[in-house]
C-alpha cells in the first residue's frame, strides 16, 4: 500500500498524472488485513452491529464453485450510507465496503470468492449506527479434479 502511495506521489510529483484525475486512494488496510470478521468490523468502525431484517441478501444457498459466488444486497434501512460484505471463513474476511452518497441507492451486486462453506455477513451503516444480516452459503467441489 505504501508502495502504491509512493508510486502515485512520485507520478504526481513528476506531473505524469493530472492531480484532478488522480485518486484519493483510501484503502482501509487494517480492515482488509484482519483475519476474522470481528476485527475487520472494528477496523471499519462498525463493531457489534445489531441484527436487522431490512438488509436483504440475495444469494444461492449452495454454490457450484467458490471462485465466483454472486451476492446481491439491498439495504432498506433509511439513509444507508455504506455497505460492507464479509465472508467469515475467508483468510481475510472483508470482501469490500461501499459508500453510497447522494444519488446512489444502497444496492450492490458483487461476485465474491469463498474458500469454503461460510456465513456471509453484510453490515449496513446509517446515521452512525450499524446493522447486520447474515446468510450461509455452502461451497461445493465439482468436476474430476484433474
Amino acid at each position: 500500500m505504501n508502495g502504491v502511495r509512493r508510486k502515485l506521489l512520485a507520478l504526481l510529483a513528476a506531473g505524469v498524472l493530472n492531480p484532478i484525475a488522480a485518486w484519493a486512494a483510501t484503502w482501509n488496510k487494517d480492515a482488509f488485513s484482519a483475519k476474522n470478521a470481528g476485527d475487520a468490523l472494528k477496523n471499519l468502525g462498525a463493531a457489534s452491529p445489531q441484527p436487522s431484517g431490512d438488509i436483504v441478501i440475495e444469494a444461492p444457498q449452495i454454490a457450484e464453485n467458490g471462485a465466483v459466488v454472486p451476492i446481491e444486497i439491498t439495504s432498506r434501512i433509511p439513509n444507508t450510507t455504506s455497505i460492507a460484505v464479509l465472508v467469515d471463513k475467508n483468510p481475510y474476511p472483508l470482501v469490500g465496503r461501499f459508500d453510497f452518497k447522494e444519488g446512489a441507492l444502497p444496492f450492490l451486486k458483487v461476485n465474491a470468492k469463498m474458500g469454503e462453506t461460510s456465513e456471509v455477513r453484510v453490515v449496513a451503516s446509517a446515521g452512525g449506527r450499524h446493522y447486520v444480516a447474515t446468510k450461509e452459503i455452502k461451497v461445493t467441489i465439482g468436476g474430476c479434479g484433474g
Binding site: A59, P60, I62, A63, E64, V68, P70, K109, G143, C144
Partner: protein, 260 residues
C-alpha cells in the same frame, strides 16, 4: 387462460431435464458474468487486419455468406462445399485465417487454447461469433451426406469405450441423476439434456476464469478419459460436436454461457 397457455408450452417442450440444485447459482452467475468482455476482445480481433494479406476476418463466410455473423454459430457444425468437409465454428474460423488472411495453418493454430492470464485469439473470436446467434434456434447441418456421416461417426464415438480407464462419453454422460463430485451430469444422448448444453457453449468457466470452446470441452473430456489427445478440428471432434449439437438442436442459442 394464462395458466393454460403455460401448461401447453410446458407440454410442447416435453420432459424437462432434471432440476438442478444449482439453478439459482447458475442463474445468478450468468447474470453477473464477465463473458461479454471476451466478445468485445473478439470483435476487435475480428476487425483487425492480420496475416501476410493484412486483411481482417470481416469477410469470413461462416455459412451464411461472407461477413454474415447473425445466426451463423447456431447453424454449425455444417458442411462447407469450399472445404468439402463438415466444420464447426473454430475450424471454420481457422479456415478463414488461412484462406482470407493468408496465414499458415501452423502459425494460426500455434496457440488455440489459452489460459486465464492470456486467452487465445480463437477463444475471443469464437465468443464474438457465437454472441451473434443469441436467440437463434440451433439448427446444425443434418442433411448433407457428409453431415449425416459425421453424425453417425460422432454417435459411435460417443459410446466407444477405450483408453487406460475404459471410458466412453457415456461413462459420465449416460445415466440420469448422476454426479461427479457435486457436478450434475447431463445425459448427452437425451435431447432434453443436450439442448441447454449445446445452446451455451462456448462458455466462461468460473472455476478457472477462462472462456472455453466446444473444441476445448471435447479435448478436456478425452484428457480426463485418459485417452491420447484429439487433433484440433479433426473429423472425430467435429463428428462428436455435430452428434451432440444435432441431439440438442431446436433450442434457442443462449450463449456464450457461464459454467462452473
Amino acid at each position: 387462460m394464462r395458466a393454460v397457455a403455460l401448461l401447453a408450452a410446458v407440454a410442447l417442450a416435453g420432459p424437462a431435464a432434471a432440476q438442478s440444485q444449482f439453478e439459482k447459482y447458475q442463474q445468478m452467475t450468468a447474470e453477473g458474468s464477465p463473458v461479454e468482455l471476451f466478445e468485445m476482445e473478439g470483435e476487435a480481433l475480428w476487425r483487425k487486419p492480420q496475416g501476410p494479406r493484412n486483411v481482417s476476418l470481416e469477410k469470413c463466410d461462416l455459412g451464411k455468406g461472407p461477413g454474415v455473423l447473425q445466426g451463423a454459430y447456431a447453424a454449425l457444425p455444417r458442411y462447407f462445399a469450399d472445404a468439402d468437409r463438415v466444420m464447426d465454428a473454430e475450424t471454420r474460423i481457422l479456415h478463414c485465417m488461412v484462406a482470407l488472411q493468408g496465414r499458415s495453418l501452423a502459425e494460426a493454430s500455434k496457440r488455440l487454447f489459452g489460459n486465464a492470464d492470456n486467452p487465445s485469439e480463437m477463444e475471443y473470436l469464437t465468443a464474438y461469433v457465437a454472441g451473434h446467434s443469441r436467440g437463434v434456434r440451433m439448427t446444425p447441418g443434418t442433411e448433407h451426406p457428409k453431415e449425416r456421416a459425421a453424425f453417425a461417426l460422432g454417435q459411435k464415438l460417443f459410446y466407444h469405450r477405450a483408453g487406460a480407464w475404459d471410458f466412453s462419453c457415456t461413462s459420465c454422460h449416460g445415466q440420469e441423476n448422476k454426479r461427479i463430485r457435486m457436478s450434475e451430469l447431463p445425459v448427452l444422448d437425451r435431447p432434453e439434456d443436450a439442448r441447454p448444453i449445446v445452446a451455451t457453449w462456448p462458455a466462461y468457466r468460473v472455476s478457472n476464469s477462462q472462456l472455453k470452446t466446444m473444441q476445448w470441452r471435447i479435448n478436456d473430456c478425452y484428457r480426463q478419459m485418459r485417452m491420447p489427445e484429439p487433433n484440433f478440428g479433426s473429423e472425430a471432434t467435429i463428428a462428436l460436436n455435430l452428434f451432440l449439437t444435432a441431439t440438442g438442436q431446436g433450442a434457442a442459442y443462449n450463449g456464450p454461457g457461464t459454467k462452473r
